[in-house]
Each structure stands twice: as C-alpha cells, then as structure tokens.
C-alpha cells in the first residue's frame, strides 16, 4: 500500500496502489493531505463524510472534493481516514487537527480533483490508480 508523486508538468499526479478499494481511497486521501499540508499532521478531531455516487471514480473524486471543502471551511488538516464502501456509497471517518501555519505551510493549495485520466484498475495484486490534483 503506497502512493508516490509522478512527474507531471502543470499539476500534481499521484500513483497509488493498495490491496483493497478502501485502502486505495484512504491512501489517495493521505496523498492529497500531504500535497496540501506536508508530512507533519496530527490527529484528535474527527469528522464523518458520507458520499453517494455513480461509479468508483466519481465516488473517489466526490469524496476528495468534500475533503477539500471540509478542510478549507473548518481549517482542519487531516492525517488519516477509516473508510467503508458499499457499492457506490462511502462513509469515511477522517481524523485531523486544526490548521497551524507553523507546521502546515509546507504544501500547495489543491484547487480541484481532476477526472482527466482517472481510472481505478483492479487485478490479482489489488487496486491502483493515477490521479491529478489541480494546483
């Protein structure tokens, strides 16, 4: 289970692999938070996010878009997520802390989650995807 940033000229492109769909989602979520706020992120404040969508890719994009929204309006920086997926609906318990400029200013604002080239792949080894964050 891992994520890595792969070269992309304009934006941030992330390659994620995971054994399960839930783990794939939570890794992509962690990648998003790392891009925005760096690696020093604490926990202690919980939020629940519920999403229903029409396919796995939309479910992921909608979930991450909701994370961007909650993070910005509540000033929260998340460290990890516990995710349950049933069909095309998702419940995520995300764990984080209040934004602290001293520790969380190392990243870049993400403007949106792009659908360009977004496809969730599945084979015997598990799940993988490439996703582009517009920065």
């Amino acid at each position: 289970m891992s994520f890595e940033e792969v070269p992309h000229t304009a934006d941030v492109k992330i390659h994620v692999t995971a054994p399960t769909l839930e783990a794939l989602f939570s890794e992509t979520f962690r990648a998003l938070m790392q891009v925005m706020y760096g690696t020093t992120r604490g926990s202690g404040t919980l939020r629940e996010i519920r999403i229903e969508s029409t396919d796995n890719e939309s479910l992921l994009a909608d979930f991450l878009s909701e994370v961007l929204f909650v993070s910005e309006v509540e000033g929260l920086v998340f460290s990890d997520a516990r995710i349950r997926i049933n069909g095309f609906s998702l419940i995520a318990e995300v764990n984080g802390e209040l934004f602290d400029p001293a520790r969380h200013s190392g990243g870049t604002e993400v403007k949106g989650i792009s659908y360009s080239g977004l496809a969730i792949m599945h084979d015997a080894n598990g799940y993988m995807l490439d996703i582009i964050f517009d920065v």
Binding site: M36, V73, T108, K111, S116
Partner: protein
Amino acid sequence: MLEGINRIGIHEWEVPVGYVPGMRVAGRFFLSESLAKTLEPGAVQQLANVATLPGILKNSLAMPDIHWGYGFPIGGVAAFSVDEGIISPGGVGFDINCGVRLLSTPLLHKDVSGRRDLIDELFRTVPTGVGAKSSMKVSSQSLEGMMVKGARWAVSAGYGVERDLMRCEEGGFMKAADSHFISAKAKQRGIPQGGTLGSGNHFLEIQVVREIFDPEAARAFGLILGQVCCMIHCGSRGLGHQVCTDHLKILESATKKYHITIPDRQLACAPIISPEGKAYFGAMAASANYAWANRQMITHTARQVLSRMFRIEYEEMPLMYDVAHNVAKIEEHILDGKSREVCVHRKGATRAFGPGSRDLPIDLTSVGQPVIIPGSMGTSSYILRGTQIAMDRTFGSTCHGAGRIMSRTQAKKNLNGREITANLLKEGIIVRAHSENGIADEAPGVYKPSDEVVRVVHEVGISRLVARLSPLGVIKG
C-alpha cells in the same frame, strides 16, 4: 516535432482531423522550433480532444505556452456556436478568472531599490498561502456584491476608484453572472477569502519597467522607462474551485442526457442554450466577478502600503489593465465575413482585442487592448497590445504566461528553495513566501523562457510587444 503534425507556417502547426477519432475541425497551435522541443504529446492530444466537441468553430487553438493540463490543454482557445455549441468547465479550469493586473506608480527604480521593508510590509498585509484568511470582513451581502458586480462592487465599497473599472476586461464584471447557481458550499468558501492571494503560481510583485518596445503604446498605457509597477496574479479562490467541482458533476449527467460523446471526463459539457449550460455560465460568470473583486481588494491593500511608505497619493497609482486567463465568454467575432456571437473558452490564454474593438476604453481604441504576460518568479514580465491579426486568427486571443516545462517532482528534487531565494537576492530580487517547496515549485527554471513565448506571439502578430518589466520583490504563498 511530434509525428502526425504538419507545419503550416514559421511558427504555426496543424493537428489534422483524424489525429484522434471524432475531430470536427483541425487543431492549430503556434510554437517556435525551440519551444517545440518541450511539447508534450498529452497537450496535443488534449488540443485534438477539444476539436471533437459539438459546435466548435474554425479550429481548436493553442498559444505558444501550450502545455499538458486537464480537459483543454493550458494555452487552449476554442469558440463555439451559441446555437449549436457547448460550454465546458474543462475549457475554463478550477481557478475561474485566474488573472493578472498591473498598477503603475509615480516611483522610480532608485526609490524602491533594496527596500526589503516594502516587500515585508506587503507580505504582512496581503494574506497569502494555504489557509490564509482575509482581514477584510466580507459579509454575505458583500459576497453577493462581489459575485454580481465584481470589481464594481469593490470600488463602491471603497476598495478603488471609478477609473479602475475602465481598465478591467469587461469593466470588471460579467453581466451574465447569476449567483443562484452558486452553491451554499461555494459561498461558504468565498466569504473568508475575499482579498486573499492564495498559493501556487499566484503572486504579487513589485517590478520595474526595463525596456520599451513600442513608445506610442507605452505612452497610452501610462508606462515609462524605470517606472515602478505592482503586478497582482490571482483568481477566484475556493469559491471558483467549488463552482467548477459542483458544475462538473451536473454537466457530467448533462453530457449523457444530451448524448454528447466526449473523449475525456474532464470535458463534461452541455449545450450553451440548455438549462445546465446556462446554469454553469451564470455561476462561472459570478465566480469571475468574485475574482475581479478579489484582485481589486488586494489592489487596495497594495495601494495603501505604497501610499503610506512612500507618501504618494492613492490616485497616483492607476490601474494599467486587468485581464482574465481562465474564462468562457460570449463575444462577437467575424466569421466568413459576418459578425456573430460565439462562446469563446480561454484556458490559460489572454484576450487580446485589437484597435477599434468596442470593449476597449476610449483612450485605448487606437492602440489595442493591453495584454499582461506575467513571467515566472524572478524572470521578466511583458506588456503587449492586442491586434487585428488576433481578431482574424485566434478569436482575439494570445498567450498567458511562460508555460511549465519541468514537473513539480523534478523541481523539488533539483532545486532548493533557500538557494533560489539567495540567488535571486544576488540579482536584487527579494522573495517572501510561506513555503520553501513553493519557491522551488515556481522557480525560474521550471518554466519555458517567457521571452521566447512572447517573441512567438509578437512574430505571429497575435499581439505586439510594448514593454518588459523585471521584478524587484515577490510575495507568494
């Protein structure tokens, strides 16, 4: 050059119909041979994808700062028939009306040279970076004003002077704005961010006019050699990002509803005349207005700082011009000898209306519209003017910036924020930023040389060089 692309002029290339399935028109882009070396296949594919969209007119176009984005390529321009064409957030982007403006001042280079305190004070007063909140209190009523009346609202609220509005594209607001199509979520994001710069490639720079190429146009624009100016580059912040996210979702269903085949989900679209298309257009225009108001509010803060520190009057810092880089608009253009309304998408491209255009302020009608091309951090920015050739060939459009050539991963690996800041300081450029990664990310070497990009648009004639400015100080996120 990549295989399958035909050269049709010194700096002009054609992507023929058939390059990707379903193209309705050919693609065309402008690029010099040296810039062609860094052209990505993904960018050409995106240019060709745009050519498959219903109602596209003439060509799917790209400017010399073309690079790989999402949906449209960055540097992409396409016009669609208002009756049969579509509108797509993929042709505008998440940062609706990301744009740039230039304020001139009565100060000369010697007045501000080495004044670190000016850059420090601007960094202290203009909120920048991730998580920055505005010190200007925006109420929900003010937010409505920002969305409906844009820069005009800001001026009436005391953040500028009436003359500023004459020097904004569209007079600083699009009349088509309809805030009913802006979600509660987008509004919630918009309220605390009015007057904030953001992060990424957004910046505020103190610059000096280093070269004048066109004295007559420079005079009309109010620019003289050695003059200190202030450039502001930012957009519609979280409000615009949320509007794009919300409407992509709606338009994705609409794409299916209207049986439109698209090669990339990010090109989700709807007929311009459909309820979904109109809703996106109204919301996008309201977000564009928010961005104009936002730049006006930052302008106010910058003017206050300059006024206080150098004892100059607010009115002595006129707005040279303000242009949008990411926007879709209904404009009148001549096609096959007849004037008609079309929906022009500019995604990382600048409007460059030529002399005689109706949207220009009276004192600029004989010169053409000012075009502002920001350089990357530490490099030159350029002022150009719009031309008739742009009206004839690119729906009155030109490039918007330098265009990236190095990925962010590579930039972080190869470049060190602290070293870059030290090197820029040796050149007399002071940089203040929240994030060292952010500095490496936007360093001069990660972009195409901006002088080569503007040389191409100048030689093609879709805008003409007027002046070159170089930075003295930069603040960014």
